[in-house]
Every structure is written in structure tokens, then in C-alpha cells.
């Protein structure tokens, strides 16, 4: 029943090792029932939202090819994202029940209404760009979708942070920046991949800004979270986060250095997209790991009580 708060990476240690107690090593919290469809929905929602913002900026600055690509990407990504969200429901046929209420206390409710407004706009913008029909309506849809896009990319960070999952809730300050950074990386990557080196300047710049934001937010998260940051560093989640960092950094470097090379652009774009996806899977897995081990739940709560002046419990067992 007694366990030491385990091995953590050498000099990274931030609080003294303390004894912690659990009920037969069982988790305090329930493991999330969400499957891999959910991190996919996070990634694709980010890709769509940031692509819509890029599409409008590209169109208004006279880059129709990049704009068309970004619109198609946004429409495709948000469709699959909505599909993934619905697929993950325990009762998918009741998806529409989310539209019977609007609850400000539920990020999922707000997100559903946001997606309901955004998705038709993303479709309309893409359809108009692809068919070259109704250009004025297409422009209106493009601009409105771009206005909603950043919110689509970011709301899922609040959705995760508004849970009892230690690795998600404790990261509530960094997650929004991490999510928009990752979204920008993905949208830039898609633009670069689809448009090629000529005309992908904005995509490269967006991906660079995104990757820098993503890596900075991760760094801040790692520093601020104390012992809970271990969930992002170790195990499966740690490996995913490391891989995502390498892909984001490598993809950015490739995009900037291989500007004239078609193959380098395609590779870099793919790396940026993959890096963004792995970030979401890494965050998802970190949350799961932090629920599975009661140390992540009990430790920080004990510490909070200690700081409010309640003594650490004395051991009552041998």
C-alpha cells in the first residue's frame, strides 16, 4: 500500500521524494474512455482551423493556389475530425443530443456549436474555390471560416484542461498555446506539401512560427508542471513528444533550407504534419499515464494541502 514516489530523471527532481499512499495501488481517477479517434480529432481540428486562417490571408494577399489548397485541407480535415468525434461516442446515433442545449460550463458544448457553424462555412469556401462558382459568397465563407478557425483550433485545449486528469488540468495555461502552435505547424506543413516550393512562402513562415510556439510552450509546460511533467517525459507519451519535437524542428529546418527543392518541400511538409499529429497523441497519452498512476493525483493534492498549512499525514502502517 505504501509506495515511494518513484524514480524520476536524476537532477530534474523538483520536490523532495515523499511517501505517498494509495488504495492497493489503484488509480483514484477513472481512465478516459476516449480512444485514438480523439487525438485524431484534436489534430484534424487544429489543421482545419489554422488552414482556414491561412486560406483567407493567402487569398486576400493574392495567392489563389495556396488559398485553394488550404480551403480544401480545412474542409477535408474538419469533416474527418467531426467523423472521429462522432465515432468515439458511446452512442454515435445520439450525436445530435449535443445540439439540444448550449452550456457555457461545457467546452464540448461550446465546441459542438462552434463546429456546427464552422463546418458548413469551410465546405462552402472549399467548394467555391474548387468550382470557381459564386466567388463573392465563397469569399464571405472564406473570411467567416477564418474568423472562426482559430477558435476551432484552440477550444479543444480547454476541453482537455477542464478535466480532473492531472497532466491536462495542470497544463491548462500552456495547452492553448501548444495547440495553436501545433495547428499552425500542421497548416503550414500541408500548404508546403501541396503547393511545393514556389508559392509556399507563407506556409513556411506559418509553420516556422507554429513550430517555435509549440516548442516554447512545451518547454514552459515542462518547467512549470513539477512532478506531473514526468507524465510528458516518460513512457509512451514521452516517446511521442520527443518524436514530435524532432519532426517539428526537422520539418522547419528542411522547409527553410530546402526552399528550392520540390522533394525537400514535400518531405518537410509531411514531417510538419506528422509532428503536429504526434504532439496531440503525446498529450493524450500523457493524460492517460497521469491517471493510471495515483501518485500524479495524490502527490500534487497533498502538496497543495501542505502549502495551505495542513500537515503531511503521519504513517499509520508499518
Amino acid at each position: 500500500m505504501k509506495a515511494r514516489t518513484g524514480r524520476r530523471g536524476g537532477d530534474e527532481q523538483m520536490v523532495p521524494e515523499a511517501e505517498f499512499t494509495s488504495y492497493h495501488g489503484q488509480p483514484v481517477l477513472k481512465e478516459t474512455v476516449w480512444g485514438p479517434a480523439i487525438p485524431s480529432y484534436l489534430f484534424l481540428g487544429g489543421l482545419a482551423g489554422a488552414s482556414s486562417a491561412l486560406a483567407a490571408a493567402a487569398q486576400l494577399s493574392g495567392r489563389p493556389q495556396l488559398a485553394r489548397t488550404a480551403k480544401a485541407g480545412a474542409a477535408g480535415a474538419i469533416s474527418v475530425s467531426m467523423g472521429a468525434l462522432t465515432y468515439d461516442l458511446g452512442r454515435p446515433a445520439r450525436f445530435v443530443n449535443m445540439l439540444r442545449v448550449f452550456k457555457v460550463t461545457s467546452p464540448m458544448s461550446i465546441g459542438t456549436w462552434l463546429l456546427s457553424a464552422y463546418t458548413p462555412l469551410a465546405w462552402a469556401a472549399a467548394a467555391s474555390a474548387a468550382t470557381r462558382k459564386l466567388p463573392r459568397a465563397g469569399l464571405a465563407a472564406t473570411v467567416t471560416a477564418a474568423a472562426l478557425g482559430p477558435s476551432v483550433a484552440v477550444y479543444t485545449s480547454v476541453l482537455l484542461a477542464d478535466t480532473a486528469v492531472p497532466a491536462w488540468h495542470d497544463a491548462r495555461r500552456e495547452l492553448p498555446y501548444l495547440f495553436v502552435g501545433s495547428a499552425a505547424t500542421a497548416a503550414g506543413g500541408l500548404g508546403l506539401l501541396a503547393v511545393g516550393p514556389d508559392g509556399a512562402g507563407p506556409a513556411v513562415r506559418l509553420a516556422t512560427l507554429g513550430a517555435a510556439t509549440e516548442l516554447t510552450a512545451e518547454r514552459l509546460l515542462d518547467r512549470r508542471l513539477g512532478p506531473v511533467a514526468e507524465a510528458y517525459r516518460t513512457g509512451r507519451s514521452g516517446a511521442l513528444m520527443r518524436a514530435s519535437r524532432i519532426l517539428a524542428a526537422g520539418g522547419t529546418a528542411g522547409a527553410l533550407l530546402g526552399r528550392r527543392n520540390r522533394a525537400a518541400s514535400v518531405l518537410s511538409g509531411a514531417a510538419l504534419l506528422a509532428g503536429s499529429a504526434l504532439t496531440r497523441f503525446g498529450i493524450f497519452e500523457a493524460g492517460r499515464a497521469s491517471v493510471r498512476d495515483p501518485r500524479y493525483t495524490v502527490g500534487p493534492q497533498r502538496e497543495r494541502l501542505r502549502q495551505r498549512g495542513q500537515p503531511t499525514p503521519r504513517s499509520q502502517t508499518a
Binding site: 492497493h24 461545457s106 478557425g149 477550444y155 484542461a161 477542464d162 507563407p202
Partner: protein, 307 residues
Amino acid sequence: MSDGPPQQVTARQDRTTGPVADRGLDPAARAGHVGHPPRMGFFTDTSVCIGCKACEVACKEWNAVPEDGLLLTGMSYDNTRGLGASTWRHVAFIEQTSRPAADPDSPGQHDGEGQEGRDEMRWLMSSDVCKHCTEAACLDVCPTGALMRTEFGTVVVQDDVCNGCGYCVSACPFGVIDRRESDGGAHKCTLCYDRLGDGLTPACAKACPTESIQFGPLDELHERARRRVGQLHDVGRSEARLYGADPDDGIGGAGAFFLLLDEPEVYGLPPDPVVTTRDLAAMWRHAGIAAASLAVAAVTACVGGRR
């Protein structure tokens, strides 16, 4: 929000920024019930629990909750493991040895070997249940409105509305509610909403042979619980303490609270649970800044160069 690590952000500080500022009101009134009955709840006095599991059985029988695994866990006498979609009462068993200087004659003390030179052993048994929080995270995050506050101040899932999104499962700071594989919906204790409506006592409390599970208006239960803690302290059981009875805690106090004989985590309960919707305003603020940054980044990317 402070700039320190999250552990330093106490529930107390966060509370002022949370969206649920009117927590002082009773939850049924806050949910719009007019002329509602008093808030009803459970007081589970673990010092008289004998681990008979009658509550688990009565709950399953009355609520027609399906079987959810018949296995041996090796966790003392507990083969139920924990609360879940198909377990709405769960009796925890903890075997402790070498508890120093305890009076073997006092209540709740079921000592095994007490002779000189041998380890003393004590049993801790506790029947866990949904806390029916004053500020319920499951209810806050539910996107369909399936989770609702009853006129008794309890929290109930409407099964015909729930679409199985699973948000409540990750939001609950106690790990109570879960999704059932067989029907895809979220389930938990209803505090026998149907029985309450007919003026009956919930099945678990009715079946409890030692009155470890007590049911009644929450105010009365609080009174009774405070007297009981005083009684136990008077006979030297200084470790007796209430859990979930403080309206100033991270969930605004529980509708089902406990008298424990050790730290909450020993029973698998979180020592300082917090409803995370209290931080929602701060979270949206950061999200707003982040979203604006993304829009600015997209524009910057397009005006920043010739290509």
C-alpha cells in the same frame, strides 16, 4: 492566476475567478427548482462499517445494475475494485498492521492479534459512493444535459439523453462515473432518485445493518456527523475526521460525505478534490489570446514576404 507551479494555485484562490461564484446557494435552487424539498444525502460512518457488502448487493438489486466481473483481486476482501458504471456502492477493505497506541475496545477496532510482541492489525472498511458534489464537474461538462440536478440536490444521469461522449468520466475528480461497455452510456449512483420520490430510503442505506450508511437531510447528517466525531475524539480516536463535509472545499462540499479513520488516499479518495470548471474563465482567457495569436500569425505569414 498566480505564476507559480499549479500546486501553488490553491482552490481558494481559483474560486474567485471561477464561473460558479454563487456556490453558497443550495444546488437545487441554483438549478432552478422552486419550492424544492431539503437537500438529501448520505453520511457514511466508516467507523461502524463491518464490510458485509449488503449495500453493494442492495444497490445492484434495486437499480438492476448488471454484473461487472467476478474475479479475485488479491486486494484484501475487496473483489469489487472500485466504483464504476455498474458498481454504485463499493466497500473498500484495508488491512493495517502496527497501528501504534490504539484503544482496542473503541468502535471500529476489529483487532486481530493483540498480544505482546506481535503486530497489531486493524481493519478499515468503507462503503464508497458518488459524492453528489455541490459543484459537480460531471454535470458542468456534460454537453447534452443528460446529467442533471434533482430537486433533492442530487446529481442524476438521464439515460435516454446521454450520448456516451465520456467527458464526465474524465471530469469527475473522484473517479466515480464511467461508461458501460454494453450500452455505451455513462452511469453512476442516483441516490435512488426513484425511491426518494416515493419518500423511501435509498436501497444501500436501508440494507446497512450497522447504520454505517445514514440517509437524511444533509443539514441533519452534518449535525450527527459532528457529534460522532466528537464522541470518537473523546474516546481517544483522534484520527477520526470528516471528508466531504466542508462547504469551502474544492467541490463546495459533498452531498455524500464520510467519517474516515485515516487519510482519504488510504481509502482511494483524493485528498483535495477540485471541480475544474472553477478555472474555466482563466482557461478561456488564455485560449482567446492563443487564438488571436494564430490569426495574427496567419496574416503575418502572408504579408511578411514576396512569395
